[in-house]
Each structure stands twice: as C-alpha cells, then as structure tokens.
Amino acid sequence: MTELRMRVNGVTRTLDIEPWVSLLDALRDHLGLTGPKKGCDQGACGACTVLADGVRINACLALAVQYADKEITTIEGIAKGEDGTHPMQEAFVRHDGFQCGYCTSGQICSAVAMLTEHAAGMPSAVTPTTDRIELTDDEIRERMSGNLCRCGAYNGILDAIKDVAAQEAP
C-alpha cells in the first residue's frame, strides 16, 4: 500500500492504494466519484476523461501514483460554484449533446480542456501550421476525436461546444 495525497476537485484527499490502481479506479472506487466512466478501459473511448492540472487525460491509462502531485478535476468539480453548473454543462443540455449520457462527463471535461488548448495556440491535424485557428466544425470534430459517443449525439455536442466557444471569444 502506498499512502497518496491528491488534490481532487479542490479538496486534498488521502488514499491508501496499490501502485497498480488506475486513476480512474482510484476516483470511482476509492473516492466515490463515479462521474468519470469506464468505457473501454484501454484509452480508446474517452469516457474516463478528467483534467490533471487542467490538461485532459484518459484516467483509465493513468496510474494514480503518477498523479499524486497534480490537481485532478472530474465532472463533479468542473463547475466553479458549489451548486452551480459549468457553461459547457448548460450548453450540452440546451443543445441535446447526449442521449444515454454515458460518455457525457468525459465529453464535457474534454471540451472544456479543448477550448483551453485552443486558446493557448495548440495546433491540430486539421490546421497544424496556422497561427490563428478558427474553431470550425472540422476543427472541433478533430479536436474532440478522442471522445466517442455510440448514441451518435455528435451534432448536439458540436453545437454545444460552438455555443460556449462563441461565449468565450474575446
């Protein structure tokens, strides 16, 4: 057993876990945060997406011990206020960005971090060499390709993200 201290959604938590426990299992089974979902458990679907220091990662392929000094944010902590919702959550509701909802927490965490990456100038395979990258439909689809939705709510997801991106645009 390793005693691990980890900041999760703004609170320092102490965990007694084995080094082979994934960050996803640590969050779900040890801390009771079941927002991040186990879809494929092999980095293919994105349902487990959480933020580590604001950067989106697949929690299923992350060993929890590797993230002891990081600030982890899950869907439960993505909203700023205690009982509030994040603008991305509201936009997903407004635009029907889900059907069954299983991929949704991963989609929303991924989308929030994607907008941060875009604002920081991160290129993508669609427009790798341009400096000012407009968030076109193609651009958003490429940047969200790590999150699968088997219900096929992609059009609603796209509209929700465009809505938030427009609100955030300077």
């Binding site: 390793t2 084995e18 080094p19 082979w20 994934s22 458990d41 092999q42 980095g43 994105g46 997406t49 950067v55 989106r56 990662i57 697949n58 392929l61 992350a62 060993l63 011990v65 590797q66 991924s110 994607m114 990456e117 100038g121 991160m122 290129p123 993508s124 395979a125 790798p128 060499t129 689809r141 490429e142 940047r143 390709s145 790590g146």
Partner: protein
Amino acid sequence: MKPFAYVKPLDIDEALQAAGPSVKFLGGGTNLVDLMREGIEHPETLVDLTGLPLDEVDELPGGGLRIGALVRNSALAADRRVRARYPVLSQAVLAGASPQLRNMATVGGNLLQRTRCNYFYDQAHACNKREPGSGCDALGGFTRGHAVLGVSESCIATHPSDMCVALAALDATVEVRSVRGTRRIPLADFHLLPGDTPQVENALAEDELITAVELPPAPVAANSRYRKVRDRASYAFALVSVAAALEVRDGTVTAVRLALGGVATKPWRAHEAERVLVGGPATEEAFGRAADAELAPATVQPGNAFKVDLARATIVATLRELA
C-alpha cells in the same frame, strides 16, 4: 494487472541504477499500462521517469533540436521551432492517437511503443512476438492492418508510430544512457526488423534509458509534409502514411526525404525511392517510378495487398503537393 513495485527516482543516475531484468521504465503509460492490464507485459518493477528533468526542447548548434525523452507528444507538436523547421514532425505527432493520449504520451515512450497487431493482443491466438516460437496467426488471418515491407515468416505486424516515421525521414538520432555511459543510435538502426526474433524490437540494451532525440539541421525539412490515410478521419492507425520533404530547383529534385508508415514492420525510410528521385525531374511520372522502386519488394497477404497501390498513390500525392 499483475502486482509490481513502483519507484520514482529523482535524478537520472538513480533511474539508471534501478534498471535491470523485469524492470520497465514508465513514461506516460499509454501503451505500457494497457499491455500490463492485458497480461502481455508483466514487469516486477516500474521505474517512473516523470520526475526527471528530460522534458525540454533545446537548440543544437547549426539549427538542430534536442528533444528530451519526457517531452509530451502534445508539447512536441506545439513547439514553434519544430513547426517552423520540421513541420512534418509536428504534423505526424498530431496525426497520431487522440488529444488526451498525446497529452500523456512521451517522446521516449512513443519510440518504445510495441510493434503490434490484434493477434499480439489476443492470447487465444499464436504470436511469435508474445510467445517466441508459437507461430503467427496473422498469416492467413485478417491482415488489413498488417505490413508489406520488412516482414518475415515470423511476424507481419506494423510499427504503429506516426512520430517515428517523421523522425526516420529527418535522420534523427536517439541518445541513450546507462551506468556504462552514453551512446547515440541513428533512428534507422533503433528499430529492428522482425526476422526470426520478432520479440526483440529495438537496439536498446536492458539497462539503457532513452534520454533524448536529436534532430540534425535539415533545410529541406522546411518544405515537408505528413500525410496519413486511415479508415476514419481521425484517431485511427495508419493504413498508409508518408513523411516527405522535398527541394526542387529548376524542375529538378535537389534534395528529398521520404519515409513510410502503416506498411512496414519498422518506421520505413524509403532510400530506394530517394535514389530514384534525386537529380531527376519533379514530375508525377518520376514520383510514381520512385514509389514503384520502393514498393517492388513488397510481400503481400490477401487482406493487405491494396496497401501497395495505396502507398504508391499517397507517395505521389504527397510529393506533388511539395513540388
């Protein structure tokens, strides 16, 4: 997952001391953790490298770059010097995996991801790579993703990296360290052909750690491109990919770099095609002849024979775009 001991060294020497049999170095974990969960890799100790100071991209004399082994794939793709001097490398990295995986995966780990296919993962099937001498069920099986160049009777799995294809085109060098010292391995010699030992995939000794990848100055690379063809628009392995850099003067090819992905058992530098191209005309016909020369030794299966035509077309299209 089989239990293992976990250590996190604070400096490189401590990491080198920890190396040994049944010890694996851990970077982002995107391939290794998956293989451990599948029971294919089962190290007794994991040495977590992510606390080591190997996460910078530094200038080399003459305009080259030295990329630390722990630079994340996303940071490499975003680096302005990489994008300006070696656009093919930034494009290749961005063509691989997903944003989440690129945020986790390291450059050293990308070099060391296993050459693999579905039969390697599926323990109900024979695989010489997973269990040396057990046979290869890919032969005569479903081979849409498999290699046509560098294959052997033991293994036809494809090296899956996009980054490494660009590094092959750029004459990169891999810097490795052990308690015995430091050495540099040309990328072309880093990955090995399967031959009759497909379980041995690279030239690293058991105690060696990748510390950096060095890119020599390459003015030709300013005009370079990575083109990837796959079964869906994003987040899929390549059926065929082409890393190319081209310099043309007065209609004549004066310099060219060409490497292929998705078609070979290792990142494939297309030396034969380059020989045909240099000094010749920068025409579609000449590009086609060069592609044919490179692909002539292809050994195909019923399921992947299409890759020869697809590779030819992709090579021609990429060079035409750069000419």
